[in-house]
C-alpha cells in the first residue's frame, strides 16, 4: 500500500506492506537507517522517533498509521556537519560507545529537553528509562543530557 507522510520536513511517499512498522518503512523504504532495530517490541528504545512531536518507538507503530503525520528522526536533528547540541553533548561527555542505542537516546533526550529544559537527575532517569544501553553505565549519558541542557538554555 502507498503511504504519504512528512519525514524530516519533506513530503514522502512509500510503498509498504500492510503489516510494516514505521521503523521498517523509515529504514528500508525511506533510506533512513539512523533509527535502529534492536528488539521490535518497544523495550529498547533504539528506534525512537518523534511523530507529530511525540516521542515513540517506531517499531510499535504501523507505517500505515503514520499516514499524513509528521515524523522526525535522528537524521534531522543535526544539519549536515553541524551537530545538534544534544548530539554534541553525547560526543563531548563520552556517552557513546558502540553507538547502536545512541540515536534512540539522542531523540529521547531531545524530546525531554524540549519539554523540560532543566531536568533533575531523577527526571532524566525517568525520561530515559525506556532506552537500553549495553555498553555504557548510563552515567555519561546522564551527564550528556545535563551538558546539552546547559548548552541549549544557558
Amino acid at each position: 500500500m502507498r503511504i504519504h507522510l512528512t519525514v524530516n520536513g519533506l513530503e514522502r511517499e512509500a510503498d509498504v506492506w500492510e503489516g510494516s512498522s514505521l521503523l521498517t518503512a523509515l529504514r528500508e523504504d525511506l533510506g533512513l537507517p539512523g533509527s535502529k532495530n534492536a528488539c521490535e517490541q518497544g523495550e529498547c528504545g533504539s528506534c525512537s522517533v518523534l511523530l507529530d512531536d511525540q516521542l515513540l518507538c517506531s517499531c510499535l507503530v504501523l507505517a500505515a498509521a503514520a499516514e499524513g503525520h509528521r515524523i522526525r528522526t535522528v537524521e534531522d536533528l543535526g544539519k549536515d556537519e553541524r551537530l545538534h547540541p544534544v548530539q554534541r553533548a553525547f560526543v563531548d561527555a563520552g556517552a557513546v560507545q558502540c553507538g547502536f542505542c545512541t540515536p534512540g537516546f539522542i531523540v529521547a533526550s531531545y524530546a525531554l529537553l524540549r519539554d523540560n529544559p532543566e531536568p533533575s537527575e531523577a527526571e532524566i532517569r525517568e525520561a530515559l528509562s525506556g532506552n537500553l544501553c549495553r555498553c555504557t553505565g548510563y552515567g555519561k549519558i546522564i551527564e550528556a543530557v545535563r551538558r546539552a541542557s546547559r548548552e541549549m538554555y544557558r
Binding site: L32, Q97, G99, I106, R134, G139
Partner: protein, 747 residues
C-alpha cells in the same frame, strides 16, 4: 626494509595461555617513560567517530541495503532434541515474494539431521523483504521425531555421558593443606546463564562478484570470520573480503563467523543476489551464545590467623551443545592468592540448550564470584576484616609460574578503593538504614585477568604529501574506542594533530589485526602502530636532514618542525611535505613478542555498598568503587566508560539477569528484552572509577595492557559480600533475587 623473523610468543587469551610462533619485523622500542611529555597518549580525547555515531550516519551491518538484496530468515526447531523427518515448504513457497526455501535435503552443508536445542536451524526462507521471509518461515511445515533431552544443568551433571573433564590444575598437596587448616569453608555456588544481548543483532550480508565474496558482518574478529567462512565454503582467503566498519557490541559473542554468515554466503551464490541474514531479538537470546551457568564447589582452608593453607575449586559449566571448549572458571583460584596447596578441576557439561560462547572475561566472572564469596565466608568465620584476609594472602609472585609480574599494584587498588568507598565505616554485621527494615552493608572483591595481548598484529602508516596520515590496520572497533586510541598513538609518534590522522580499518584486505576480544586489542595492535609511526618519522627525518644538509641523527621533530640539535636550524614540516609532492612515506610496524621472564596480568578491586530491605529481600546497590591497574591508560575518558559499562553488565549479572529455561519443554522463557532484565538507567548506582597511575613498562612499548574485561570480573562477589554484611544473608546463587535473599535470611 627490515627483515622478518620468527619468534616464539606466549599470549594469555580469555584465561588460557597460548604459545605460538609469530612473524615480526625490525626491533621493538622501549615504552615511553613516566616523565615523557606526551600530547595525545594518556589524555582524554573525544571519539574520532563520535559525530558519525550520534548523527545516525554510522552504517552498521544491519543498516546495509544493497540493490537487489534478498532477506533470509531461519526456521528454528521448537524441540530441544529431535530428528528432522520431513520439511514441507510448499505453503511457504506459495507466498508472494518468497524466492527460496532450503533445508537439509537441498543444502546439506547448512543443516544437521538432528537438532540438539530449541532454536537450532532447520530451514531457511529467502524473501524479497525481511517481513515476507519472516511470514513465510511460519508456513514451513516440519515433522520431527522427538528425542530425549536434558536442559537443566544439575540434572545433566548427574549424567556421566554429558560431563567431560577439560582442565585440572594442582600445586602442592591440597589434602595435606586441609589437614593443616584450623578453619575450612566448604561451599557450593551456582550462577545463571547470562545472555549477551548486544544491541546490534548478529548478522551478515553477502555479495558475490564472480568468485569473490564480500561479506559485511557485525563481528569482533574479521580475520576469524574470513578464515571460518573460507573454510566452510572452500574458498581461498583472497576470495573472501570481510567488512566490519561500525559494529554494535559483541561482548565475546561475535568472535567467530556465525551460521548466518554461511547462510548468507552460500545462498547469495546460489541465488545470484546479495543476501542479508540478521538475527532478531529472540534468536539473539536463543542461538548466539551465552555465559555458561555454573555449579561450583569451593573449599578453602586457613590457619587461625588467616593464612590460607589449601584451596580447592571444582567447577561444572553448562556449555549447551558446545563440546569443544569451556571457559576457565577455576582460573582465579589457580592464580590469585599465595597459597601453597591448590587443586582445581573444570568440567564441561552438555545440555540441550543453545551453545555457550565467550562472554566478557568468560569463566573468571563466574569463578571470581565463587572464590571471592568464599573468601568472605572465611573472613567471617575467622572474625577478620575481609580486606585484611586478602592482604594476608597477597601473592607477590605469580603463584602459577613463580615469575614476577610485569606490574602488580593490587595493594594500591585495595587501599585506594577502601578510601573511596569509605571502608572504615564498614561494621561486622552491617549498619542501620533509614528504617529498621533497611540494612546497609559493604563488600569487596578482587579482579585478576590477562589482557597483555601479543603478536601477530601489523600496521602500516601512509604519510601524504600534505602532512596527513592514514593508519591502515586489520582492526574492528567493537565500541570500546580502539579507533581513537590507535589514532592517538599514531598522532603521538608522528607529532601530528589528531584530526590529521585518519584510520583505514574495518576490512580484511589489510595487514592482519587481532580480534576485539580478550582485552587485548589495544595492547596487541597499539605497539605495532607506534612502530609504524616511528618508521614514518625516521624516513621523514632522513628527508628533512637531506634538505637541511645535516645528519638525520642530529635532528628531531617538534611542533611541526624538524629541528637540528646544534645551531637550532629549523625546517617546517609543511615545507618538507611540499617537496615530497606525490610521494607517500610508508611506515610499517609489527607487534613484538611479550617478555618471557615476567607474567602480564591486570588487577583490580571493587567495593560495593548496598541497602537490603529485609522485609522484601530487595537489594539496592548504592555505590560501586572500581580501582584498576593496567599500566598506561591511553585515553582516560574512554577507559572510564569501559569500566562503568563493565560494572553495569556485572550489576545485571549480580542482581537481575539470568536465562530462564522450562525443564519440561526446553524452551527459553525470557528470550526478549522485556523479560530478560538488563540494567536500565534507573538501576545503575553511583560508579566511582580510578586507575593506579603506574606504568607497566615491561609489557610492551605502550606501557599498558587491556581493560575490556577486568571491570566485569569482581563486581558480583562484591555485591554478594555487601549483602551478607548488611543483613547476614549469604546468597550463593546468582542472580541475587529478593526471593533468594529472603531464603538466606531464613536459614
Amino acid at each position: 626494509m627490515p627483515s622478518a623473523r620468527v619468534v616464539k610468543n606466549r599470549t594469555e587469551f580469555e584465561g588460557k595461555i597460548y604459545e605460538e610462533l609469530a612473524l615480526v619485523q625490525g626491533a621493538d622500542i622501549p615504552a615511553w617513560s613516566a616523565d615523557a611529555e606526551l600530547r595525545h597518549v594518556g589524555r582524554s580525547r573525544l571519539r574520532v567517530d563520535g559525530p558519525q555515531r550520534v548523527s545516525g550516519r554510522a552504517r552498521y551491518t544491519t543498516d546495509l541495503m544493497l540493490p537487489g538484496m534478498l532477506h533470509a530468515r531461519v526456521v528454528r526447531s521448537p524441540h530441544p532434541h529431535a530428528r528432522v523427518i520431513r520439511v514441507d515448504a510448499k505453503r511457504a513457497l506459495a507466498l508472494a515474494g518468497v524466492r527460496s526455501v532450503v533445508d537439509r535435503t537441498s543444502a546439506p552443508e547448512l543443516f544437521d539431521e538432528e537438532v540438539h536445542y530449541v532454536g537450532a536451524p532447520v530451514a531457511v526462507v529467502v524473501g524479497e523483504t525481511e517481513e515476507i521471509a519472516a511470514d513465510a518461515a511460519h508456513l514451513v511445515e516440519i515433522e520431527y521425531e522427538s528425542l530425549p533431552f536434558v536442559v537443566d544443568l544439575e540434572e545433566a551433571i548427574a549424567d556421566r555421558t554429558r560431563v567431560q573433564r577439560k582442565e585440572s590444575y594442582s600445586r602442592g598437596d591440597a589434602r595435606r593443606g586441609f589437614r593443616e587448616a584450623d578453619i575450612v569453608v566448604d561451599a557450593r555456588y551456582t550462577t545463571s546463564t547470562q545472555l549477551h544481548n548486544c544491541l546490534e543483532p548478529h548478522g551478515a550480508v553477502a555479495q558475490w562478484d564472480g568468485e569473490r565474496l564480500t561479506l559485511w558482518e557485525s563481528t569482533q574478529a574479521m580475520f576469524d570470520v574470513r578464515k571460518g567462512v573460507a573454510k566452510a565454503i572452500r574458498a581461498r582467503l583472497d576470495d573472501v573480503r570481510v567488512i566490519c566498519d561500525y559494529m554494535g557490541g559483541g561482548f565475546g559473542s561475535k568472535l567467530g563467523h556465525g551460521h548466518y554468515s554461511e547462510i548468507a554466503a552460500v545462498l547469495a551464490k546460489r541465488l545470484g543476489r546479495p543476501i542479508r541474514c540478521v538475527m532478531d531479538r529472540r534468536e539473539e537470546n536463543l542461538v548466539t551464545g551465552n555465559r555458561s551457568a555454573t555449579v561450583q564447589r569451593v573449599r578453602v582452608g586457613a590457619t587461625k590467623d588467616g593464612k590460607l593453607t589449601a584451596l580447592e575449586h571444582v567447577a561444572w559449566s553448562g556449555t549447551g551443545t558446545e563440546d569443544g571448549w569451556v571457559a576457565s572458571t577455576t582460573g582465579p583460584s589457580n592464580g590469585l592468592y599465595e597459597v601453597a596447596n591448590v587443586r582445581s578441576e573444570q568440567f564441561l557439561v552438555l545440555t540441550n540448550t543453545g551453545p555457550f560462547s565467550a562472554f566478557r572475561a568468560p569463566g573468571y566472572v563466574e569463578g571470581t564470584f565463587a572464590l571471592e564469596s568464599a573468601m568472605d565466608e572465611l573472613a567471617d568465620k575467622l572474625a577478620l576484616d575481609p580486606l585484611a584476609l586478602r592482604r594476608k594472602n597477597y601473592a607477590k609472585l605469580d603463584p602459577q609460574s613463580g615469575k614476577h609480574y610485569s606490574l602488580k599494584r593490587l595493594d594500591q587498588c585495595y587501599s585506594r578503593g577502601a578510601e573511596l568507598a569509605g571502608w572504615s565505616r564498614r561494621k561486622a554485621g552491617g549498619t542501620a538504614g533509614r528504617h529498621a527494615y533497611l540494612r546497609r552493608g559493604m563488600g569487596v572483591s578482587t579482579q585478576v585477568w590477562g589482557g597483555g595481548g601479543g603478536p601477530p598484529a601489523y600496521a602500516t602508516i601512509h604519510l601524504n604529501a600534505d602532512g596527513t596520515a592514514i593508519v591502515r590496520a586489520g582492526l574492528q572497533d567493537i565500541g570500546s574506542g580502539t579507533k581513537t586510541a590507535i589514532a592517538q598513538i599514531a598522532a603521538e609518534e608522528l607529532s601530528l594533530p589528531l584530526e590529521r590522522v585518519r584510520l583505514s580499518i574495518g576490512e580484511t584486505d589489510a595487514p592482519y589485526g587481532p580480534a576485539s576480544g580478550g582485552s587485548m586489542t589495544t595492547a596487541s595492535l597499539g605497539p605495532a602502530v607506534r612502530l609504524a609511526a616511528v618508521d614514518v618519522r625516521r624516513q621523514l627525518l632522513e628527508v628533512a636532514a637531506g634538505l637541511m644538509e645535516v645528519r638525520a641523527s642530529e635532528i628531531h621533530l617538534t611542533d611541526g618542525h624538524a629541528v637540528a640539535g646544534r645551531g637550532g636550524k629549523k625546517l617546517a614540516l609543511d615545507e618538507v611535505f611540499s617537496k615530497l609532492q606525490n610521494y607517500t612515506v610508508i611506515g610499517r610496524g609489527s607487534r613484538h613478542p611479550n617478555p618471557e621472564d615476567v607474567r602480564l596480568r591486570s588487577f583490580g578491586a571493587h567495593f560495593a555498598e548496598v541497602e537490603v530491605d529485609i522485609r522484601t529481600g530487595a537489594v539496592r546497590v548504592l555505590k560501586i568503587v572500581a580501582v584498576h591497574q593496567i599500566g598506561r591508560i591511553v585515553n582516560p575518558l574512554n577507559a572510564k566508560s569501559q569500566v562503568e559499562g563493565g560494572v553495569t553488565q556485572a550489576l545485571g549479572y549480580a542482581v537481575s539477569e539470568g536465562r530462564v529455561l522450562d525443564r519440561l519443554s526446553g524452551h527459553v522463557m525470557n528470550a526478549n528484552l522485556e523479560d530478560y532484565k538488563i540494567p536500565t538507567v534507573k538501576d545503575v548506582p553511583d560508579i566511582v572509577v580510578e586507575f593506579v597511575p603506574d606504568l607497566d613498562r615491561r609489557a610492551n612499548n605502550l606501557g599498558g595492557i587491556g581493560l575490556g574485561e577486568p571491570p566485569i570480573i569482581p563486581t558480583a562477589a562484591a555485591i554478594a559480600n555487601a549483602v551478607a554484611n548488611a543483613c547476614g544473608a549469604r546468597v550463593r546463587t546468582l542472580p541475587i533475587t529478593p526471593a533468594r535473599v529472603l531464603e538466606a535470611l531464613r536459614r
